[in-house]
Structure formats: structure tokens, C-alpha cells
């Protein structure tokens, strides 16, 4: 199979790639922490998170710190699997070009 077809379209965006990478190595990451790590605006980040959530790749936990809402995200099993497949596909593509 052509490795390009194995690449997951959802991870096409740099921002979604960044979100998934940081969630894979951390148990959970809050919205604000993601915002700082990736360096994007609230609205932009929220829409990318929504896409990932709709695909079932991440879980959302809503909580409060005092009165402020504090939403944190963690990766689901499906998300982990999809991301690993995407990495494999990237690896294959690089190999095939060497």
C-alpha cells in the first residue's frame, strides 16, 4: 500500500500534530498549557481540539480552579493508535525515499 494513503488526514495540521505529541507524553495537559506550548490563539486551538475530540482521539475533563474553568485533555486509546500509525507511515515514507 502506498504510505501516503496511510497518513492520517486528521494529523495534517501542525497544530493538531502538536496537540497529539504533547498529549502522548503527558497524562493530561490543560487548555492554557497547550496554548503556551503551541503558541496559538484560543479560538484556533479550540477548533483543532474539537476536531480531535470528534474523531475520538482525545478525552476532555472539565474542572474548576477556584471559579475559573480549567479544561484538560488526555489522549484516548484510539488516538494513541491512530497517532502511532501516522508515525509509522511517516517513517515508511522517509525510508522509501532513501
Amino acid at each position: 500500500m502506498n504510505p501516503i494513503e496511510q497518513l492520517n488526514k486528521v494529523f495534517d495540521s501542525r497544530i493538531r500534530l502538536g496537540i497529539m505529541s504533547s498529549l502522548l507524553v503527558n497524562e493530561k495537559v490543560s487548555f492554557n498549557e497547550l496554548k503556551e506550548l503551541i503558541g496559538v490563539t484560543d479560538g484556533n486551538l479550540a477548533s483543532h481540539l474539537k476536531t480531535l475530540e470528534d474523531n475520538g482521539f482525545l478525552k476532555v475533563q472539565k474542572g474548576f480552579i477556584g471559579r475559573k474553568t480549567n479544561t484538560s485533555y488526555s489522549v484516548t486509546k484510539a488516538g494513541e493508535k491512530a497517532f502511532k500509525q501516522h508515525l509509522d507511515a511517516l517513517e515508511k515514507m522517509i525510508r522509501s525515499l532513501q
Binding site: L17, S21, S22, V25, S30, E33, L37, L90, E91, I94
Partner: protein
């Protein structure tokens, strides 16, 4: 396409590093901490020498005063080392545009502060019981273990600094009269060597 998948992989790696390790820890922080430890050891050495030269055995002898003076020196060293370390690390994270406080910094703080606080309590109790000869060894041991514990969340090489502190601490455990020398070596020299190496390796432009 080739450059794009390379780029993607690099991006993924960077984000994994950045989000799980606190990498802005500056080498200069180590050098500064080492210098304040050396200065502290020098002052403490002066206090001890003059105590044994003038006061010891005479009616003016005041071991409690010496103890208090040494504690003040130790506290000043600790505070100035921490403050200087913070300043250099803050400057580096500003320069590189990374946030200083995040999940990785929090994990680093927790994993190093916990063994250090426990060690601090342990040492205070040792002093209570007048086991002064073990103080230098224990401070080096606990500090070394704290660094090894924290190395998962920052530049991994810091564990070598931790091993060095533990070895120095073990040495002091068997040769307690060399406590101050061990202190100057562990907290002073090792910090400076480590800090300089890290600066050379990662920050030198």
C-alpha cells in the same frame, strides 16, 4: 513530500521534548550556584578556624554561636544559589521564548523538592541530636538523589551531577572530618563543572 515528513517528525519530537521536559534550565545557573557554595565554604572555613584559634577551650567559647553563624552562612548560600539559578533560567527561557511555568516545570519542582524537603527535615533532626558529623554527608546525599529523581523532567545529563553528589556524600559519610571539603567539592566544584559543560554543549552560540 520528503521534506514535509521530515519536518513533521522533527516537530513531533520537539513538542514531545518541550512538553515533558523543562529544558530551559541554564548552565549559568549551575555555575552561579557553585560559586555561591564556594564563597560560603570559604566564609564558613574562616569562622571555624577563628573559633578554634581564639575561643575554643577558653571561657568565651560559644559553640552555639558558631553553630548559628554556620547556619546563617548555609541559609544565605542556599537562598542566593536558588535566586541566581532562577534568574539565569528565567533569562534563558525569555530568550528562547518558552514559558517558564508549565507541566514540565511543575513535575521537575515536585520531583526535586520532595527529596530535598525530606532531607532538610532529616538534617534538622540530626542537628537536634548533635550528630553534626553527618550533616555534610546527608545534605550531599539527599541533594544528589533529588537531582537523579528530577532528571526525568529536565536535561537528562543532570543525573551525572546527581551521581557526583551522591559519591561525594558517601565519601563524607566515612570521612566526616572532611565535611567542609566535601561540601565545597560537591556543591561548589561539581556545580561549576556541570554548569559550564551544559552551557558549552547547549547554549554557546
Amino acid at each position: 513530500m520528503e521534506t514535509s515528513s521530515f519536518h513533521d517528525l522533527r516537530e513531533i519530537r520537539q513538542m514531545m521534548e518541550k512538553s515533558s521536559r523543562f529544558i530551559s534550565l541554564s548552565g549559568w545557573s549551575g555555575v552561579a550556584a557553585g560559586c555561591s557554595a564556594l564563597a560560603g565554604a570559604f566564609v564558613a572555613n574562616g569562622y571555624i578556624k577563628s573559633y578554634y584559634k581564639h575561643a575554643y577551650g577558653s571561657s568565651a567559647a560559644c559553640p552555639a554561636c558558631l553553630k548559628q553563624d554556620l547556619l546563617v552562612v548555609a541559609a544565605l548560600v542556599f537562598i542566593s544559589a536558588l535566586a541566581l539559578a532562577f534568574i539565569f533560567t528565567y533569562a534563558r527561557s525569555k530568550k528562547e521564548g518558552v514559558a517558564i511555568w508549565g507541566p514540565s516545570a511543575r513535575k521537575l519542582m515536585w520531583s526535586t523538592m520532595l527529596p530535598m524537603v525530606v532531607g532538610g527535615i532529616f538534617i534538622l533532626r540530626l542537628m537536634d541530636l548533635q550528630y553534626y558529623s553527618l550533616v555534610a554527608a546527608c545534605s550531599l546525599l539527599f541533594y544528589g538523589l533529588a537531582l537523579i529523581n528530577g532528571s526525568k523532567y529536565t536535561v537528562g545529563e543532570i543525573r551525572f551531577l546527581g551521581y557526583g553528589q551522591v559519591l561525594t556524600g558517601l565519601f563524607c559519610l566515612w570521612f566526616p572530618t572532611n565535611g567542609l571539603v566535601g561540601w565545597a567539592f560537591g556543591f561548589g566544584i561539581l556545580h561549576i563543572v556541570y554548569g559550564f559543560t551544559m552551557w558549552w554543549k547547549y547554549e554557546r552560540k
